[in-house]
Symmetry: D2
Subunit: 285 residues, 4 copies
Amino acid sequence: YGKNTIKFLRLHKEGKKHFVKEVEVCTHLRLTSAQEYLDGNNSLVIPTDTIKNIVLVLAKKNGIPTLEQFAIDICKHFMTTFCQVAYVKTYVQEVPWQRLHENGVPHIHSFICVPDGIRFCEAEQCRNGPLIVFAGIKDLKLMKTTQSGFEGFYKNEHTTLPERHDRILCGELFCKWSYGECKDFDFDCIWYIKIRECILEAFSGPPDCGEYSLSYQKTVNSIQMLVLSKVSQVQVIEVVLNNTFYNVVDMKNLGLTNDKEVLVPVEAPYGSCACTLARKKFLEA
Amino acid sequence: YGKNTIKFLRLHKEGKKHFVKEVEVCTHLRLTSAQEYLDGNNSLVIPTDTIKNIVLVLAKKNGIPTLEQFAIDICKHFMTTFCQVAYVKTYVQEVPWQRLHENGVPHIHSFICVPDGIRFCEAEQCRNGPLIVFAGIKDLKLMKTTQSGFEGFYKNEHTTLPERHDRILCGELFCKWSYGECKDFDFDCIWYIKIRECILEAFSGPPDCGEYSLSYQKTVNSIQMLVLSKVSQVQVIEVVLNNTFYNVVDMKNLGLTNDKEVLVPVEAPYGSCACTLARKKFLEA
Amino acid sequence: YGKNTIKFLRLHKEGKKHFVKEVEVCTHLRLTSAQEYLDGNNSLVIPTDTIKNIVLVLAKKNGIPTLEQFAIDICKHFMTTFCQVAYVKTYVQEVPWQRLHENGVPHIHSFICVPDGIRFCEAEQCRNGPLIVFAGIKDLKLMKTTQSGFEGFYKNEHTTLPERHDRILCGELFCKWSYGECKDFDFDCIWYIKIRECILEAFSGPPDCGEYSLSYQKTVNSIQMLVLSKVSQVQVIEVVLNNTFYNVVDMKNLGLTNDKEVLVPVEAPYGSCACTLARKKFLEA
Amino acid sequence: YGKNTIKFLRLHKEGKKHFVKEVEVCTHLRLTSAQEYLDGNNSLVIPTDTIKNIVLVLAKKNGIPTLEQFAIDICKHFMTTFCQVAYVKTYVQEVPWQRLHENGVPHIHSFICVPDGIRFCEAEQCRNGPLIVFAGIKDLKLMKTTQSGFEGFYKNEHTTLPERHDRILCGELFCKWSYGECKDFDFDCIWYIKIRECILEAFSGPPDCGEYSLSYQKTVNSIQMLVLSKVSQVQVIEVVLNNTFYNVVDMKNLGLTNDKEVLVPVEAPYGSCACTLARKKFLEA
């Protein structure tokens, strides 16, 4: 297969107000043929340069109403236009430009980059198969300074970790979910208002007291359960949590008692936990 | 000279509410001696490990009321404690954790990382000299989709750039300023409410119409002028703008007219412009 | 599942001569249970910290005779020791320290880092399944300044790429292959003397004249074919070539004819092509 | 001031043999005027695009005989051509492509990237001042597994570091030196044969036994002293050593004695030591 990445900006105006989307689009193609590899016969090969042109032309003609719709458009174009394409996958990721506000007033043409979680989506299709749409968030860094522990784990002669009931829970989240049959979903609303909010809520618990996390694994599961219960369009959800561990600095040798006030990040071991949960499994649970 | 970097978390509680600062502290020291280099005589060398301990102990004892105050505390400690120190500089940079909000309600112990411009400061002192405090913002990415041009520049046989009066202005800002005599400044308020707002305002102009930028250089100068005029505590301000250029994609060969709707970032040449402006110079201007 | 990464150095001496391996080990585990996710019951969870200890203890006890043997040792340890482990995969990557030479004389204890392709391997096993070993090279950057073209490709209304018969072929190679039944292979010899040499030879052709490449795809295939034909221990080989494109700079406006003397890298579109070839397929071809 | 960076490839042939240099050139300019900042008057501003064209044209016309000569050519061009230029600095860095060898035979047109220390140089000139040339190496990673210690350092109540006489010395070197009056130096020979060899020799000592290092600082100084004594063209040399510390893993809790066999890198505190030594100082010492 082959893939290629192109980054560009799509502007549009409504009256004097400007809108901007900067996206990175990665298109994977697998052809029905193998002759380009075996014989160097390029007659079915679609050059990277052509793929780039197609993506830019579609952006020019259709705009980018939502990331998901744009990915769907690209997929459909390749499947419809090129009979040598056996499989196509389009990944679209957005640079998080937000409109600037001055004293609460939105600016008509100025933007600031606010990378508090990157939105992405994927559309993929095999020839004669359904078009499947995924969406997700990545690079979302969250921290709870209390209400987290890790106890009762498996122990043997290689165990040196003490049990802890008040540690820091900090990590970088990756979540990716698939939508079922893609009717006319309001992809923006589902992403921002529903799923992102669910993730933050499940991670942190009620604002006035939080909710105790028994482990990174349990927090991963809580996020999945809440999204599946609140957002009916989601069929399957995968969550990966890259953990950053913090150790309370031992200050005894320095004559001080450090009551979880000063902590240093532990670079290694660096861990992550991941789980994929599907709706059916969820209903059975 | 020697320098070293340590990263850590400082937590504190007020009732049930948690507060967190994660900082990276880099301490530069220059000693009065040269014997450690010339003879390998280490008797005056302060090990990296000791410097780390001192930074952590100061964080434990004093907390981090503001980045600037913490940098000042570290500088003073080294200058006071070690007579072999000829010069000390402390750079402190903050990981941009923000309190999470759920439906507008602030969470008591959950945070999200929002890197829309990184806050940093520096305190430096030579033995027998004044303690000088700098503060700054870096990695602040801004974009104007109109109201920007570049015309009337110098031309010769190597010029191929066309004049433009409606280009994209996009870049990553670095601003660093020095405070005069450091009395009891409210460093947090000056940084967030005053200077950051000035930078955004000077970059983008009024929210309803913006302000035409004649060049990256002029925009750099506008930022400096506004900060110096609005924030009396600032004595000198340096601004560096790393430019990202965007080209309107030529779609003639593809049978389309691209009216500044689809643009691609130009990776190279990659440029930046920088200027340092002091209050005196400003008054003369 | 969960995974974690640990980086460490393993030293050993033979007489006065020092040997060093610095490795990064990433261990993936999937447990037979789901209760840690669903109920927060941690009783079967093996903490990251314990995994780290096991890896370090095995390195201490057995050393790292080869990367592959070390990965096998770790896999076997987890499968044997923990009955709750359903699947284990160990990835080991080496920091490319090479012994320093002074005027051709090898130094007994000094090393230089020479990252001209990173060696890695993987061992994986499902409970009751075979232990499979992979090895590979990544971040290997190669360039041919001639003997490369791309012609006869598929064309339509979105095609703007001209045909070329003398372009630059430049890219970053990733190759990963699996060994069949792992008897007492000399993993170091196979990697360095055989496979690495095959890759370089297939990429570049004979030293005095090279060999014309019809496309990136054909070059990928040539590498696979040569490895499979020359190295009987290899069963399957995957090759990914991340392409860097270079454009001859058009200097007509500057009054010059640029005869493929000055070229600039094209940052986007950024492409790659990949193919996996197994021995059986090869024999049939 | 303004600066910009351009990356490109310069090919040339001698008979059938190909030669390639891939360089990154960064040009800093400071103009005599300030009007472009203060008034947005661009009439003296040399656009980034023009600077790029000039660099490419010079590469096309003169080739890149050595990095240093190319940097000198660029400097001279700007100083001679533009009377509004008050200061120019050109930094040139080389992508470390090396000719491929097959069984010892050099390939006529294939290259491999071997980043074991990056070569760079700088030429700078103020109007009416001399043209000064610097050269250097960066990202050179070296390690000694023994013959290194750190003892007799300054101690007080914040000291927790134990004295060590057999630690790992590992770091990333940055060296930059200036040449005096630039006559017809053989820049390539000085860089490769002389200075690079001096650095490696001073870092590691004789190949059969090494040489004990009393500290990172002393090793920095040894490098400087050897270069100044062996290479008469060097006037001033700056060396920065970014230290990577390794800790012997304490395996007592795991029932094992770790005799400096397994060590883990310490991510923080991360330190560096730096020193600049000039010939005059050297002679007096």
